[in-house]
């Protein structure tokens, strides 16, 4: 089965990249310096923006959105009722886990798109067997 050379970017990858205090900052700074085609979802962008709003302030939250705008290799996938329905099925399958909708939509899209590279530090993104980039480097 053909796999996609693209990488899925989870909220945690954006935070590890932008937060110099994070243990995985150096890894994600290196990855984002020369990225392949990247995909994420509008839910991930909303989570990232929310993190900056809650943890810091509006200025930095806008800075985060400016970074997303600037990140040319990144495609933001729309999340429609179809993706939410598929994510809900996944959340029922993994009902023993505190999966967020953003996590579940990400897992669904990686499966549909045959994405084998997951930029994340969140163990929930391992649930369907796709390794995280932090485990591979």
């Amino acid at each position: 089965m053909a796999t996609s050379p693209e990488a899925y970017v989870d909220t945690s990858a954006f935070i590890a990249f932008t937060d110099g205090s994070d243990t995985h900052h150096a890894l994600f700074a290196r990855l984002f310096a020369a990225p392949p085609r990247l995909v994420t979802t509008s839910l991930v962008v909303a989570e990232g923006h929310g993190w900056f709003l809650r943890r810091f302030d509006r200025t930095r939250a806008l800075g985060f959105l400016a970074m997303v705008e600037m990140l040319a290799p990144l495609v933001i996938l729309a999340v429609t009722a179809k993706e939410i329905a598929a994510a809900t099925r996944l959340m029922r399958r993994f009902s023993d886990q505190d999966l967020t909708l953003a996590d579940a939509v990400g897992l669904h899209l990686m499966s549909v798109r045959k994405t084998r590279s997951c930029w994340s530090t969140d163990r929930h993104l391992r649930l369907t067997g796709i390794p995280l980039v932090i485990d591979q480097t």
Binding site: I15, T18, S21, D22, M67, T100, D122
Partner: protein, 74 residues
């Protein structure tokens, strides 16, 4: 080095002087460092200026996003 002039509001000037004193550097050096953080280095993609744009002080920051965004369970 090129000499230039910048206009700052009084409170910006005072805050910048205070920060420079805290770091033990001149106001000019503080401004040079600030510019280096904002401007992309030659050959680097423009989004790399956001690498390390914040310092939360938490080494597990990226693994605690749900606590911040969705809050802790009560």
């Amino acid at each position: 080095m090129i000499r230039t002039q910048v206009s700052l509001r009084e409170e910006e000037y005072a805050a910048a002087k205070e920060e420079a004193a805290r770091l033990g550097i001149s106001l000019a050096e503080l401004l040079r460092r600030s510019l280096r953080r904002v401007l992309p280095a030659a050959g680097r993609p423009p989004w790399m200026r956001y690498a390390g744009m914040v310092e939360s002080g938490d080494p597990r920051s990226s693994q605690r996003i749900d606590e911040i965004v969705y809050g802790n369970k009560s």
